[in-house]
């Protein structure tokens, strides 16, 4: 089922890009222009994804498909949790800065993924602290990388 969905996504993507490429300007001194190469790519992509879709539709037993969100969520819970944390980490970094957001991400994700064991709290907070502060000072001082500092350190 997933392969069928991906096939459809590939197909739609090739259609969108093909028509988008039509709006790109032509070039008078260059035969291919900016649209030529992408169009060659999506043409092949469209044909191949069509093959994939047809092949998968034939082989799937649609009666057996179970699209119950809560079972999918339960099965892949840790992945969902990690991805949501990851997204928040990226989104809030520019507001609260690299150090705090990295600490929060590494600490909370370890906490949510790992065993419920209070003895581990010291270990995971040390790791989070090392990663967030260690990398910040190393890259900032030695390599001149400027990380977002955030509102608390401005």
């Amino acid at each position: 089922m997933g392969e069928l969905i991906l096939g459809i996504i590939f197909f739609l993507l090739s259609l969108i890009i093909f028509f988008q490429a039509g709006s790109l300007p032509d070039s008078s001194y260059e035969p291919l222009g900016p649209a030529g190469f992408p169009r060659i790519i999506v043409l092949m992509m469209g044909i191949l994804s069509f093959f994939l879709i047809v092949k998968k539709i034939r082989s799937i037993d649609f009666g057996k498909i179970n699209l119950n969100f809560s079972t999918i969520y339960k099965k892949y819970k840790l992945i969902f949790v990690t991805l949501i944390n990851f997204l928040f980490y990226i989104l809030i970094m520019r507001f609260i800065g690299f150090r705090i957001s990295t600490f929060l991400f590494v600490f909370l994700t370890q906490l949510l993924l790992g065993p419920r064991d209070k003895k581990k709290y010291l270990l995971i907070s040390t790791i989070a602290l090392l990663i967030s502060l260690g990398s910040y000072y190393f890259f900032q001082n030695y390599l001149g990388v400027i990380f977002p500092t955030g509102i608390f350190f401005e």
């Binding site: 999506v42 992509m45 994939l52 990690t82 980490y89 990226i90 994700t109 790992g114 990398s135 890259f139």
Partner: protein, 500 residues
């Protein structure tokens, strides 16, 4: 030639130089192991330090970083399945399955020895073949370049995994991702859909980190119960036997020599490099193998091909630099810059005017390779401990490192959004058995292919030139043979498995 080598030894046997070189190799290995931190970046960061050094010490230190960096990517590629540098992508194909089979020591050992011999063989080629290969590289125009890339793209057909259609789709996706942003020829913004930061394009390294690293880390979390109980990548005792892995590597001389030759040749062609060489060497090893169906399951052949292929680009890349003063890669471009800062003019006259520099490069290359071997082996037991870290600690920590790696590439915050999206795309592709290597090949080769195709069409709209220029035709024929061979090979493997 002998005089030059003696001169080189005289220069190298200097305590200050050796210490700097050792530190260079160490820094290179560490940089290479961090995803997102490329060898080129490490070399650029070394450049300011070399201002205060003499030209020979500066060049030797940079060589150290270069050789170290090429072998550093191996550590994370083998032990975590995450290529530390683009040049270690193919190393993950067999080294990580070997780690999962409970043999991390064997995977690392084979990788280190293959890197060592790849480096060594390319040094011999560098010394003997420099002028000849450089001449061939000079004959390459946009037609030949495009045909070479077409040939390289045909590798996709043999790294497709279980389905050729899905593998090709993944490759096309990579090519398409590379077209996002400003068009390389006319500067028109393409497929940005009104999102401002996409105009800068999608950085290749961010795609690599997202597609390979983030998706790999998410896959590790699929078994909820085991992660909760503190499961590790490898359970049980780790064995690390230096000489057993040496025997395994030397037991495959043809694979080793073929991969190193390929690596050196690709290294010598300006613009190509280790990121293509490792995959090409892996592909050729698979095609030349008696048991191609075993590739990807954790066999030494794949690790040997990829690691000797990528390390040997170092020697190859130096060939046009020494013989013609043309950088074969970004790394040798920085080295050329370092020479120029010291008032030395690289070019065909370098061998005559500054034999001590050329000698230092030849001998320094050898010494750097020895240092690399020493550091890798003494650090190996420490590196191997990574596989004993519980996944609930490993995943968030490496993810944070991925964020740092993607950010420090351009100091650009918006790259992190791209990283997130690429991670999700990579995860779904992986989940539904789309092979990931073609995406990376597409992203690397796409812009080179497009620019050269358009450049050649601008020079002359006559497309038959692709077939009438001999080198170009040669590459196209190789590409055709490569596709036909992969189809034949997969057909015969299927037939064999049907018989059993």
């Amino acid at each position: 030639m002998i005089d030059m080598l003696i001169l080189g030894f005289e220069q190298i046997l200097n305590f200050n130089l050796l210490i700097n070189m050792f530190l260079g190799v160490l820094a290179g290995i560490i940089a290479g192991a961090i995803p997102g931190f490329t060898i080129t970046m490490a070399i650029i960061l070394t450049l300011p330090f070399t201002f205060a050094m003499s030209p020979t010490v500066g060049i030797a230190t940079m060589l150290g970083v270069f050789v170290g960096g090429l072998s550093g990517g191996l550590i994370t590629a083998a032990l975590l399945g995450i290529p530390g540098t683009p040049s270690a992508v193919a190393t993950t194909f067999d080294a990580f399955p070997m780690v999962k089979n409970g043999q991390p020591g064997r995977a690392l050992g084979i990788g280190i020895w293959a890197s060592f011999f790849g480096s060594l063989l390319s040094m011999i080629l560098l010394i003997t073949l420099a002028p000849q290969v450089a001449n061939l590289a000079m004959k390459i125009g946009p037609w030949e370049y495009f045909s070479l890339i077409v040939f390289a793209l045909t590798i996709i057909a043999s790294v497709t995994g279980d389905s050729v259609v899905k593998g090709l789709l993944a490759g096309l996706l990579g090519l398409l991702i590379a077209t996002i942003g400003l068009d390389p020829m006319s500067g028109t913004a393409r497929f940005t859909f009104g999102i401002g930061f996409l105009e800068a394009g999608v950085p290749f390294l961010t795609v690599l980190i997202g597609i390979f690293a983030v998706s790999r880390l998410l896959t590790e979390l699929e078994n909820k119960e085991e992660v909760k109980q503190g499961e590790k990548l490898v359970t049980g005792k780790i064995k690390f036997e230096i000489f057993t892995s040496l025997k395994e590597v030397l037991g495959q001389p043809i694979n080793l020599i073929r991969s190193s030759l390929l690596g050196a040749l690709i290294g010598a062609i300006p613009g190509a490099g280790a990121s293509i060489a490792n995959i090409l060497a892996y592909d050729q090893a698979k095609k030349g193998s008696k048991h191609p169906d075993k590739f990807g399951t954790g066999i030494p052949d794949g690790i040997i091909a990829s690691e000797s292929g990528n390390n040997s680009t170092a020697g190859g890349g130096l060939i046009p630099m020494i013989a013609l003063g043309i950088p074969g890669s970004a790394v040798s471009a920085v080295m050329l810059a370092a020479l120029q800062i010291h008032g030395i003019n690289p070019g065909p006259m370098l061998i005559i005017n500054n034999p001590e520099i050329v000698g230092t490069i030849f001998v320094g290359f050898f010494i750097a390779t020895i240092f690399m071997l020493l550091i890798q082996f003494s650090g190996a037991r420490l590196f191997l401990k990574i596989t004993h870290i519980p996944k609930y600690i490993l995943v968030p920590t490496v993810m944070a490192l991925c964020v740092i790696g993607s950010y420090l590439l351009n100091n650009r915050y918006s790259d992190l959004y791209i990283l997130f999206v690429m991670g999700i795309i990579g995860y779904f592709l992986k989940k539904y058995n789309f092979s990931l290597a073609p995406v990376i090949l597409g992203v690397i080769l796409g812009p080179i292919a497009e620019t050269n195709l358009r450049r050649s069409m601008m020079t002359s709209p006559d497309w038959t030139l692709f077939f009438t220029r001999p080198i170009s035709l040669g590459f196209l024929i190789l590409g055709l043979l490569s596709i036909m061979y992969s189809i034949w090979q997969s057909y015969s493997v299927k037939k064999k498995s049907n018989c059993i």
